[in-house]
């Protein structure tokens, strides 16, 4: 990175930055005070400690009916593994996912196939990144054990018709798991709209919290087994993890610092949530790219998250990324974005694409810097 230039950060679909100032303050306050957990200390009551309060405000933010069904993990991948591998499988059970998936979903379902001999079907997508709904409904008629999908691809941003697919899946008794890491915090989100038995969230993307804090909301319909066991702060004489939610999924010491940051960010979002700003910058980036010999991968008439993926004629993805980051301090993401299968459908091959993802904190100077960089890159060959 060129240390003499200010950073233009367009990688919010990976990790949002900057965070609201209250997040930095919340983390500092957490570190500067004694740990606040009712289960293992007497500093606060059961209902107003940091963990309970954070579950409660997050539940309100996503309209979840029961905050005790939210458990925290260290990242979304961990939460997906906990839910997916906490279920029972028989050989030849059908598991449905899709080609748009990030490896956070893809590798676990591939591991399920290897470990339990389940049949795995990956739904195709069209040129706009939209899952083939007809194919989905046909496969769901075969009564799958599990349907697990991302709400939006981290490459195309395309919002998937989750309600339609999961409603059909629930009608045949399937367990439905929604990876909402790319959507919670950037589009209005109500858990009741999706017919999902488990919803995965992460704190460090559009919820504007720190890294290291994520988790899942589990509906009353399912009760996965716990994968990890250990200290729980309650029922210490028991040889097994307590069945109590959310304790059963949270062995060991919590990431209090991460929870404190998430607590602050959700409170901030409650009064300051303005995703339209991010979409304004998304539109500006799209308009800018249209001025150059650029192939926009995910330009579509469909609802998306604010991510723009593209290639530049005659330039390798790796080189564009290197120039943007090293010469112009423009932080973006390039390559396969840990979603290897989607590139076969988007015809982006083994090199992938460049992704720019603004946030509500993006500024016009950032777009001006991007414009200067693209101008130079496109005129250099």
């Amino acid at each position: 990175m060129n240390s003499s230039l200010k950073v233009t950060y367009l990688n919010n679909a990976a990790t949002s930055w900057p965070k609201p100032k209250v997040v930095y303050n919340g983390i500092k306050t957490c570190l500067c005070n004694p740990p606040d957990e009712s289960l293992r200390s007497n500093l606060s009551s059961r209902n107003d400690d940091l963990l309970s309060n954070t579950r409660s405000i997050l539940a309100k933010f996503i309209s979840a009916p029961n905050s005790d069904r939210i458990f925290f993990t260290y990242n979304a991948t961990y939460a997906i593994n906990q839910v997916l591998f906490g279920l029972d499988y028989k050989k030849n059970d059908l598991v449905i996912s899709s080609v748009q998936e990030h490896n956070a979903v893809l590798r676990p379902v591939l591991a399920l196939r290897k470990r339990y001999g389940v049949k795995l079907e990956l739904l195709p997508i069209n040129e706009f990144g939209l899952i083939d709904i007809n194919k989905a409904l046909k496969l769901i008629a075969l009564k799958p054990k599990v349907v697990i999908l991302s709400h939006a691809s981290n490459v195309t941003g395309t919002i998937q018709p989750i309600a339609e697919i999961f409603k059909a899946a629930k009608d045949v008794g399937a367990i439905t798991i929604l990876d909402a890491a790319q959507t919670i915090g950037i589009i209005p989100f109500d858990v009741k709209n999706y017919f999902a038995d488990a919803i995965i969230f992460t704190g460090h993307k559009y919820l504007l919290g720190p890294t290291g804090i994520a988790g899942a909301y589990i509906s009353d319909n399912i009760n996965p087994s716990t994968l990890l066991v250990g200290g729980s702060g309650i029922l210490s004489e028991s040889e097994t993890m307590p069945e109590l939610y959310p304790t059963k999924f949270e062995p060991g010491t919590h990431n209090f610092v991460g929870v404190a940051g998430l607590n602050a960010s959700i409170k901030w979002l409650k009064d300051n949530w303005d995703p339209l700003k991010a979409f304004k910058w998304y539109d500006e980036i799209l308009n800018l790219l249209r001025c150059y010999p650029v192939i926009i991968i995910n330009e579509s008439p469909l609802e998306t998250t604010p991510v723009v993926s593209f290639k530049i004629k005659d330039w390798s993805i790796s080189d564009i990324s290197y120039i943007l980051q090293s010469s112009y301090n423009i932080i973006c993401r390039s390559g396969l974005h840990c979603a290897p299968l989607i590139h076969r459908f988007l015809k982006t091959g083994s090199a992938g694409c460049i992704r720019l993802s603004p946030s509500q904190f993006t500024k016009s100077i950032d777009i001006a810097r991007l414009s200067r960089a693209l101008d130079k890159i496109c005129k250099s060959k």
Binding site: N2, L5, S318, D319, S326, S327, S334, S350
Partner: protein, 97 residues
């Protein structure tokens, strides 16, 4: 003064079948050292950026890129690159030919 490799760390470049390293060198790249790569299979020098960028592809399909005036460079090795070939490239980075 002998140029040294100060650090070598894996880059998070997420491309198939390659291993990328970011090298930090004891001296910034100057034009003379960059031009030593002119005989490689592909050599590009882009002077229009705030710091001119060079991009090299060797006969072994190893990619080297960096900026003039910067102490850093990125080398992308095909995943089957031998240790011997890695050593040859690292010697080139510190100008031992």
């Amino acid at each position: 003064m002998q140029i040294e490799i100060i650090s070598k760390k894996k880059s998070d470049d997420c491309f198939e079948s390659t291993i990328a390293y970011d090298y930090e060198l004891s001296e910034p790249w100057d034009k003379e050292r960059i031009m030593q790569f002119r005989e490689e299979k592909v050599f590009n020098y882009y002077s229009s950026f705030p710091k001119p960028m060079f991009k090299v592809i060797t006969v072994s399909n190893i990619h080297i890129k960096g900026l003039e005036g910067d102490k850093y460079c990125r080398v992308i090795y095909p995943s089957d690159t031998s240790d011997e070939n890695i050593k040859i490239i690292e010697n080139k980075l510190i100008n031992i030919i």
